[in-house]
């Protein structure tokens, strides 16, 4: 049974099409990354999939249940951490966790045990007696995410869960999520931080202007869109190399005017040999060089640019 199955999903507000014929399939036990620039339609899609808003057209099945016909049934085994903060200001951290469990009909004994587990896992023990109103934005976000693990679920929507978290809290959360996925949980994950998607996701969809513009595993996306590698060459001494670099050939070369030359090439080995030849014949010594595979960030930028008709179609 698929965890999420959306077909031809659209949502319009007047003349504005926020989500346009989106097809999404999320398989069980996977972390599905959903990326896109601001205003691309990520949060609207999540609101549609969590039945918070109704689509203009299309179908949604969540854990095999038709979410349009039986939204409550579809939500029964689903957790949602929305992008916007949500908290009860006058409850203490531990009370907020406990009450949230109660709202999900979790029995008292289980709630007590889970509260302790989550306070430890999310490093909230020191602030357990503090009210939500009196803790920092990052701590509140941790409580918001931890709270969702108070109840049993098969699918969890996480809409930019690491916003406001410091690097160590962020990594701890990502590792916690990975652990839960090993236990059988499926995650639908949106983020702006592409390293997170790279670290976490089994499959990634990129949405822009309401349409899915790419969808695949991170490796396949790299193969499709990341043929080019980035080569950085640091040379000794500052001099004007503009004239010399004309001889490098048909490679995408950028030069900072100082000591760093950057090449983007699908044929990285030839490009590297060529630039070393050119530098050697001009008696320019190389201080350092590195070859960097294309990052997800570069793929993301390329896919988004291409979808807006600004790309060069040749890959990064």
């Amino acid at each position: 049974m698929l965890c999420v199955e959306a077909r031809s999903l659209s949502k319009s507000y007047g003349d504005v099409v926020a989500v346009d014929s989106v097809d999404l399939v999320v398989e069980p036990g996977k972390i599905f990354g959903f990326l896109g620039p601001n205003g691309a339609g990520k949060t609207t899609t999540i609101k549609l999939l969590t039945t918070l808003i109704a689509p203009s057209s299309g179908t949604i099945k969540i854990l095999g249940t038709d979410a349009l016909k039986d939204p409550l049934g579809a939500r029964r085994r689903v957790g949602v951490v929305l992008q916007q903060p949500s908290y009860e200001p006058n409850l203490t951290v531990e009370k907020a966790l406990d009450k949230y469990g109660m709202m999900w009909n979790v029995d008292g004994g289980t709630r007590k045990r889970r509260v302790e587990e989550l306070l430890t896992a999310f490093d909230l023990k020191d602030i357990r007696k503090k009210k939500n109103d009196d803790i920092s934005i990052g701590q509140r976000r941790r409580v918001q995410v931890a709270r969702e693990f108070m109840h049993e679920m098969d699918l969890l929507f996480l809409d930019e869960p690491t916003v406001g978290l410091d690097p160590s809290a962020r990594r701890a959360l990502l590792d916690y999520i990975k652990g839960r996925v090993r236990g059988g949980l499926t995650i639908f994950f949106t983020t702006h931080i592409l390293e997170e998607a790279e670290y976490l996701c089994d499959e990634i969809a990129i949405i822009n202007r309401g349409r899915i513009v790419a969808i695949d595993t991170p490796d396949e996306l790299r193969k499709k869109f990341g043929r080019k590698k980035t080569i950085k060459v640091h040379v000794e001494g500052v001099r004007d190399l503009s004239g010399v670099l004309r001889d490098v050939g048909p490679h995408d070369v950028s030069y900072d005017g100082g000591t760093v030359i950057t090449l983007h090439s699908a044929d990285s080995e030839r490009a590297l040999v060529r630039i070393l030849q050119v530098l050697s014949s001009n008696n320019i010594e190389v201080e350092d060089l590195s070859v960097v595979p294309t990052s997800l960030e570069e793929i993301f930028l390329k896919v988004v640019r291409d979808s807006e008709g600004q790309g060069d179609a040749s890959g990064i």
């Binding site: 039945t51 918070l52 939500r75 949602v80 949500s86 006058n90 709202m103």
Partner: protein
């Protein structure tokens, strides 16, 4: 536990704190014991049905209705806070429907209304015990008034909370509306003897009907007029609850 009761449990937990209880007690105590006795020099007796009530007994019974109204502000505050702090959306992506959310607010304000009525009855009892005529017919009147009044004023607070986004706007509007309700009513003084325009205005105010029914319950003075006032109270509660429900159902996310 049924989802509605789980939400009621949550509503009561976030609403009932020591500050709320103190506010619920101190405010009416000052009115009953300070204003009540201070004004006795000016208002010796208040004609009520076939008898005269002393002013402290009159105001103490009026404060029951007043406190029910005040306590149901909670309903508006819950909705407004849920919207402001993201809990409205969070609840609706959980195992709850909008209808259950709305119903939980009704139960919450009903419980708080009854709690409030009981509290002020206990506080005011020493003042009006001489005139009290509780029996199997009059006690249900007080309970009816507490529940319908709570739903009516809770609905008004809910309507205001769905229309206003800023905290300043919410506080200004709700305080102005409830201030009008409090002082242009029979809670603090009788309609008889008031200037005709003001006396008429009293009866455009649901608090007057609530207070009159409560007094009829406490002092055993059920008349045809009280029956009519109960109908007005019930109709008002149903209409306003309908409007509040519609607005909450359409609330955009």
């Amino acid at each position: 536990m049924h989802p509605v009761f789980r939400l009621v449990n949550r509503n009561l937990t976030i609403s009932l704190n020591m500050g709320f209880v103190i506010w619920q007690v101190i405010f009416p105590v000052i009115y009953i014991f300070v204003a009540g006795f201070a004004y006795t020099a000016l208002i010796h007796n208040v004609p009520f049905g076939t008898r005269n009530l002393d002013y402290p007994a009159f105001i103490a019974s009026g404060m029951i209705g007043f406190n029910i109204m005040n306590s149901t502000l909670i309903s508006g505050i819950i909705i407004w806070n849920d919207r402001r702090h993201g809990m409205f959306e969070q609840i609706l992506v959980g195992p709850f429907t909008r209808a259950q959310y709305i119903l939980s607010n009704v139960y919450t304000i009903g419980i708080i209304g009854l709690f409030s009525a009981g509290l002020i009855t206990a506080i005011g009892y020493p003042l009006f015990f001489k005139s009290v005529e509780f029996n199997v017919l009059t006690v249900p009147l007080v309970v009816f008034a507490a529940i319908t009044g709570a739903i009516l004023f809770g609905s008004i607070a809910s309507i205001i909370s769905t229309r206003l986004k800023s905290s300043e706007g919410f506080n200004v509007v709700i305080n102005t509306v409830f201030l009008f309700f409090a002082f242009v009513s029979t809670a603090f003084y009788p309609a008889q003897g008031a200037p005709p325009v003001l006396a008429t205005a009293f009866y455009f105010n649901p608090l007057t009907y609530l207070v009159d029914v409560v007094r009829a319950g406490i002092f055993g003075n059920f008349t045809a007029t009280v029956g009519y006032e109960m109908l007005v109270l019930l109709a008002g509660a149903l209409v306003l609850f309908g409007i509040a429900t519609k607005l909450l159902s359409r609330l955009e996310i």
